[in-house]
């Protein structure tokens, strides 16, 4: 457990992706099976056991520590697991330090009440970092800034294997992944996953740059709408159904309505949307569903999910990915027409002869639910990853708004001495209301100048954050804006970034919240 705890602690503090990857790689190299496999399961969120409640932990610590002293300490530290890990009175040599695999095995067999009883024994045996990691683990609060994908990337890089290879196997495997490690280290065969409903890594599109079109032959490409939902994969194999997100996360439990509509032996690629009376709802509506791990009956009714199909990757056990797009598309339409399908339809192709026709369509593509256009070569096979050339996404133009810089926060890693994270606001009445945050869209030279401006115009400091006088206009580009109850302005932007820094423009001439509201979709 000590090695795993030290890893979590280091991951928590390491901001850069590269640093996190190196820490995980080193851990996987230095740690034996099955310990590392359970650590991998913990990092990828694949563990399931009855979580211990904070109140149980509080009771436990108060049986060992004076309540007054605990109260002051908790006030100072501010986090229950951390306070308990630090204040826990050590009993050196009390017990042997438990392995992560032992802890997980015992937790899996325990009820919520009996898990708490075991905790005391483990807390006595561990050091403060070990206790902190244990408490985060048993309360289900293991947040150290590592996604499942990043943990798998560490495995892939260490084995010099494409990440897609691991993603393709992942859902056919179970912790502690001994056969996966054996294969990655060249000690065993590729794990057998035939017949299991595994994820197939997605083919992704490149962004179309201005001028790219001139070099492309319009006749070789097919066009379809780029719908504003999330890319998903539906897998029906051997009677089992799965819904996967773009990165291979299993989101089946959150979409029982889609799962119930699946049948047969197929792997489909499509866009997950919320549809009401045949009309695509905003991304914000989909977000309501994505926020819930398990939706209520009312959620299912109010936000009905739908999949708009783009592609067919597998049918009756046959892998169709090597076939050209046109052939896969023909089979997709045939499959769809063969039986009544609920909660899904096929995304239509857009007929066109010249790029100019598409350009006009794209410029008008401000209708709800459309993010832009997709261009796909008719003769291209389905290739995992983001190959150059066969697929392009041609997003509709971004919206922009003039805002005023309100707060700046120091960045991380290479940017830790720069104020590089900006909160900007728009006017309402005579006051500024924060409407979003941006971290990108400027050059290094501009960052230096912004940093200098922040330091020269600071009116208040709060830890790493500086409040600045309202004097700098940032022109923000964003993809869309939605209603949100979580923000003071009542609005939330998608993909905001700094488009231009308007050193010249007076703050009073920036936009109003009202102006932004008119762009809500």
């Amino acid at each position: 457990m000590n090695g795993f705890a030290a890893l979590l602690d280091a991951l928590l503090f390491t901001p850069a992706r590269l640093g996190k990857l190196r820490l995980m790689s080193e851990y996987f190299a230095a740690t034996p099976d099955p310990e590392r496999g359970w650590a991998l399961a913990a990092l990828t969120g694949e563990l399931a056991f009855a979580e211990v409640k904070p109140a149980q932990i509080r009771d436990l610590v108060l049986s060992r520590v004076d309540a007054e002293l605990f109260g002051w300490s908790y006030d100072f530290v501010g986090d229950l697991a951390e306070t308990v890990s630090l204040i826990w009175p050590a009993r050196p040599g009390a017990n042997q330090v438990p392995a992560l695999s032992e802890i997980i095995a015992e937790l899996a067999a325990a009820t919520r009440a009996s898990a708490a009883a075991r905790l005391e024994r483990w807390l006595d045996a561990l050091d403060p970092t070990g206790r902190w990691a244990l408490l985060k683990l048993v309360t289900g609060g293991l947040r150290v800034g590592v996604s499942a994908r990043l943990a798998k990337t560490a495995l892939a890089e260490r084995a010099q294997m494409p990440l897609d290879e691991i993603e393709a196997l992942w859902h056919g495997l179970a912790p502690p992944y001994a056969e996966l490690f054996a294969w990655l280290e060249g000690r065993g065969p590729r794990p057998e996953i035939a017949g299991k409903p595994t994820f197939h890594p997605l083919m992704l599109a490149q962004a179309l740059e201005e001028g790219d079109l001139d070099a492309l032959n319009a006749a070789a490409y097919r066009a379809e709408w780029k719908w504003d939902g999330i890319r998903v994969q539906l897998v029906a194999r051997g009677g089992e159904m799965r819904l996967y997100s773009r990165s291979g996360d299993d989101i089946s439990a959150a979409f029982p309505d889609i799962l119930a509509a699946m049948a047969g032996e197929v792997v489909l690629d499509g866009e997950l949307l919320v549809l009401r009376d045949g009309e695509v709802m905003s991304f914000n509506d989909l977000q309501q569903r994505l926020n819930r791990k398990i939706p209520s009956a009312k959620m299912l009714q109010d936000y009905p999910a739908w999949v708009r199909l783009y592609d067919l990757l597998e049918e009756e056990g046959a892998d169709l990915r090597p076939l050209p797009f046109d052939e896969r598309r023909r089979r997709l339409e045939r499959w769809y027409a063969a039986a009544p399908r609920r909660r899904m339809d096929v995304s239509p192709l857009i007929r066109f002869a010249h790029w100019d026709e598409l350009r006009a369509l794209r410029d008008g593509a401000r209708a709800r639910g459309i993010e832009g256009l997709m261009l796909k070569r008719g003769d291209a096979p389905y290739l995992p990853g983001r190959p150059k050339g066969p697929w392009f996404k041609w997003k509709r133009g971004a919206l922009t708004v003039d805002t005023v810089l309100m707060y700046a926060q120091r960045g991380h890693g290479k940017r830790s001495s720069f104020y590089s994270d900006y909160t900007f606001g728009a006017w309402r009445g005579g006051a500024l209301v924060p409407v979003g945050k941006a971290y990108s869209g400027f050059t290094d030279a501009e960052l230096k100048r912004l940093d200098r401006w922040v330091r020269d115009n600071t009116v208040e400091r709060y830890g790493p954050v500086r409040e600045v006088a309202p004097g700098l206009v940032l022109e923000i580009a964003f993809d869309s804006v939605h209603r949100s109850t979580r923000h003071k302005s009542g609005l939330a932007m998608r993909f905001p970034r700094v488009h231009r820094i308007r050193w010249d423009k007076p703050a009073a001439e920036a936009d109003t919240v009202e102006a932004l509201e008119r762009l809500v979709t």
């Binding site: 503090f13 530290v77 986090d79 630090l86 403060p128 991380h412 890693g413 001495s417």
Partner: protein
Amino acid sequence: MRGRYILPAMPLAATWLKPTSKGLYCEPGDFYIDPAWPAPRAVITHGHGDHARANNKHVLGTPETLAIMQDRFGDAAGGSLQALTYGEAVELGGVRVRLVPAGHVLGSAQVVLEHQGTRIVVSGDYKRRPDPTCPPFEPQPCDVFVTEATFGLPVFRHPPDAQEIGRLLHSLRLFPERCHVVGVYALGKCQRLLALLRRAGYAEPVFIHGALQSMCAVYERFGVALGPLLPASGALRGDLAGRLVLAPPSAISDLWSRRLPDPVIAMASGWMRVKQRAKQRGVELPLVSSDHADWDELTGTMAELGADEIWVTHGAEEALIREASLKGLKARGLSLAGFEDEAE
């Protein structure tokens, strides 16, 4: 309260050592200990800013502390400086004064006062774990023990130094292309970290921020070897990759650190025990290392000395007083003015 260590005599300690708005005042001896404002006579426990201040008229301290004050304040170190080596005694208005090692930083001392049969020990700042840069704390049985309380909460238990040095060396191996910059205070932490690194076998030159240089020289003058040091300001960016740089905490989050190639930002302090504090400061490698007693050292020392009364100052007074009362010890807070967050 009766004195137990010198004579079976009498007066209450508080009648001759008083917490005042300027600091602890010894009436019969007419001197202040670590006064917060310039005083006619001052006894200084050690060179940190919340204890040693400029412009006292007469200063009594260890030779090391006086040298540190001269380094920091120059001519303002004091009108006249009187050195008292560890263990030596002087008589001031019927009060016998000795300075005894506190184990905190170079020259740090506990002030041992004896008057009419009562012994009071003022700890200044102290720690109990070994430190290669200064002699260890010498426990002095006493009637009244005036203790610091910087880390007076039971969440502060510093790990072994070797463990934290090990984490720093491990990070240097794991990220050999990056520069490691460690935030350290100029007096004490900087030199102890260097000495501990040398003991752990780190023989490479260490790059030192300009603000740390003269204090390192003071330590070396008193015979504390720190190994090869180079000025960070003269180094080329490329030369700092894979290297260790020490800098004051204020410099690591500021413009100065931009010259460093892809730095791992570390910070050596007892406050790094609390993750949120470390995160807030943008620290990537928090090293929990302190020159102050942690909770176990504070409470263990209170119990060991067996003083009739414990006076608590400089830090989290209430928790230590609570702990004393749970153990059946008599304790009170002094609430002295004029100290800010300890240089820790």
